[in-house]
């Protein structure tokens, strides 16, 4: 896993191409940037033997990265560095006026803000204010310690692979995995709390609907410090077309928020035509002489290699 510095200048144009080529453009709640949206409906593509829509492959977020939750192309407020753009236009600082940047990942409420209770808003602001100079252990964004990115941050972190099996959809993220069982089994007992939570899903046409419980809520939503508590309940809807999908997730947590809110993340498929960029597309070329090019996924390690990922600050003393 690589930190952002190594990605400087590697922002790729494919996501922008995807935006421009999209057939269905809607306006975001705050900004003018278009988003590719897949509408819920029947699935007309290939199916697996057990009837699931076949959506296996490598996917990635369309816009920016994990720097900023409600202003994805706004960089991290207070960033003292003068770096260039990183993945998908997630600059170290805003390069365009807010009205020309991508909308908030919060699509409801309409103002694009997380509906925090006042105490939680104050805490989020405190975490953000201390992001670049963490003087307490809890100020260190857990991703800097190789922790799994959790829900929803895993979806605007690096690219990721989906593998499918009878009754199972498996997500392989750069850090961590999610196994979504489709067989109707109950969630784990409520006192078991997990970084990537416990997922139960079913298909409705082109949409994978996933109930997410048992969340330890230790992963934050972004470097901007948004968080939930372990009481959070999430219902995700992944709506697929052939090469795009739209992620809509409703977060409910009366402990932290004044009302439920919806997170929307547009994503697209990585194919053998997608250049490697060490962020969205971390695939490697398979060795198979004389045959067409084929990507494959190498193992992902973080803690074993003795350095954090996405670690933009010196956190050694706080982290250990």
């Amino acid at each position: 896993m690589l930190n952002d510095a190594s990605h400087a200048g590697r922002a790729r144009a494919a996501a922008l191409v995807a935006l421009l080529a999209s057939a269905c453009l809607v306006r975001g709640a705050v900004a003018a940037a278009p988003i590719f949206t897949v509408a819920e409906g029947p699935w007309t593509g290939p199916r697996l033997a057990d009837g699931q829509p076949d959506i296996a492959g490598v996917w990635t977020n369309d816009i920016a990265n994990h720097n900023n939750f409600t202003d994805p192309q706004g960089g991290i407020p207070g960033d003292p560095s003068k770096g260039l753009n990183v993945a998908n236009g997630a600059g170290k600082g805003p390069k365009k006026p807010r009205s020309e940047r991508a909308p908030s990942r919060v699509s409801d409420p309409a103002d694009g803000e997380v509906p925090f209770q006042p105490w939680a808003r104050a805490r989020q602001q405190e975490l953000l204010a201390n992001f670049f100079n963490p003087t307490k252990p809890e100020y260190v964004e857990p991703g800097a310690r190789c922790a799994p990115a959790g829900v929803p941050k895993s979806f605007y972190w690096h690219g990721y692979e989906i593998r499918q099996y009878p009754g199972i959809v498996l997500f392989l993220f750069n850090g961590g995995i999610r196994t979504i069982y489709l067989d109707g089994r109950p969630h784990l007992p409520a006192n078991i709390k997990l970084w990537n939570a416990d997922s139960r899903g079913h298909w409705e046409g082109n949409t994978l609907v996933v109930d997410v419980a048992n969340n330890n809520a230790k992963a934050r939503f972004a470097r901007t410090g948004e968080f939930a508590s372990e009481n959070v309940h999430i219902v995700e809807r992944y709506t697929f077309a052939a090469d795009h999908y739209t992620y809509n997730a409703v977060f409910t947590d009366p402990t932290v928020f004044t009302r439920p809110f919806t997170v929307t993340i547009p994503a697209h498929r990585i194919t053998e035509a997608t250049p490697q960029d060490e962020w969205n597309n971390e695939q490697e070329w398979a060795n198979r002489p004389g045959q067409p090019p084929l990507y494959e996924n190498y193992e992902r390690m973080c803690v074993e290699n003795n350095h954090g990922h996405g670690n933009v600050v010196a956190t050694a003393s706080a982290a250990h």
């Binding site: 805490r123 922790a147 089994r185 997990l194 398979a286 084929l294």
Partner: protein
């Protein structure tokens, strides 16, 4: 691999296929499931009496002992003496191959025609065994904690060639080790629906005088609604700092 290593399962497959009245095995076995070893292999691959930190075990090595080179035997002894500090397991590091397969925590096999995915609950390590005819990587000499795995089917046996290892993993809690020259050929053979025979042929000319083999039986976990439960063991060291100190949640007090 010796001729015996290469041919025995194939012959066995043909014999079993003939006995079953089938033209060998038309379809590959399905190894899908959640598996776990019961043996004491993770405590010590070699035969050992009971210790304070290990139950006794008769060992899983053909010939009982690992054929260390003399200088390597010295390092093994040092590892053993400091095993309560040096075992990579204690740092929650990915255990590697073959150890992940007999560590006393379950792992899940998911199978497609192009690959098998092995998810080891300890650390949620993900290993892909490619069965699509691709070869080991060339060029940049990668070093993987789980090695690079390329497999094919010989009758009902999945044969996996594993190379490109890091030298940072151990083989067990007793300090048995290898170098980055480690090369493993695994044979995964169903015994019946709920038992898998795991055989590993292990060579490392930097550390061993000759190749050696281990045999471990894997058992299918059949508990109701069995599933792996995420175990990112290394996060426990900083678990207390997240999501936030409990006093920050006014409604949770």
């Amino acid at each position: 691999m010796s001729a015996r290593e290469a041919c025995a399962p194939r012959v066995l497959a043909l014999v079993l296929g003939a006995l079953a009245g089938a033209p060998a095995f038309a379809a590959h076995p399905d190894l899908t499931g959640i598996w776990q070893a019961i043996s004491t292999a993770d405590y010590d691959l070699e035969p050992h009496s009971a210790r304070k930190d290990a139950p006794p075990g008769a060992g899983v090595i053909d010939g009982d002992h690992i054929p260390y080179r003399p200088e390597a035997l010295q390092k093994k002894a040092e590892n053993f003496a400091a095993r309560d500090k040096l075992d990579p397991r204690l740092s929650c590091f990915t255990l590697g191959v073959p150890r992940d397969n007999y560590y006393p925590e379950p792992f899940q096999i998911l199978q497609r025609p192009r690959d098998l995915t092995l998810i080891y609950e300890f650390g949620n390590s993900v290993r892909t065994i490619h069965t699509n005819g691709t070869l080991h990587p060339v060029g940049d000499n990668p070093e993987f904690w789980l090695g690079d795995s390329r497999g094919h089917w010989e009758g009902k046996t999945l044969v996996v060639d594993v190379t490109d290892f890091t030298d940072k993993t151990w083989l067990d809690r007793a300090g048995d080790y290898h170098s980055d020259a480690l090369h493993i050929v695994e044979r995964w053979t169903p015994i019946d629906h709920d038992h898998l025979a795991y055989h590993a042929w292990i060579e490392d000319p930097k550390v061993y005088t000759r190749p050696w083999t281990i045999d471990v039986i894997l058992y299918r976990l059949k508990d109701k609604n069995i599933q792996l439960i995420e175990n990112y063991c290394y996060t426990l060291d900083f678990d207390q700092y997240y999501p936030l100190p409990a006093e920050d949640f006014p409604h949770a007090q």
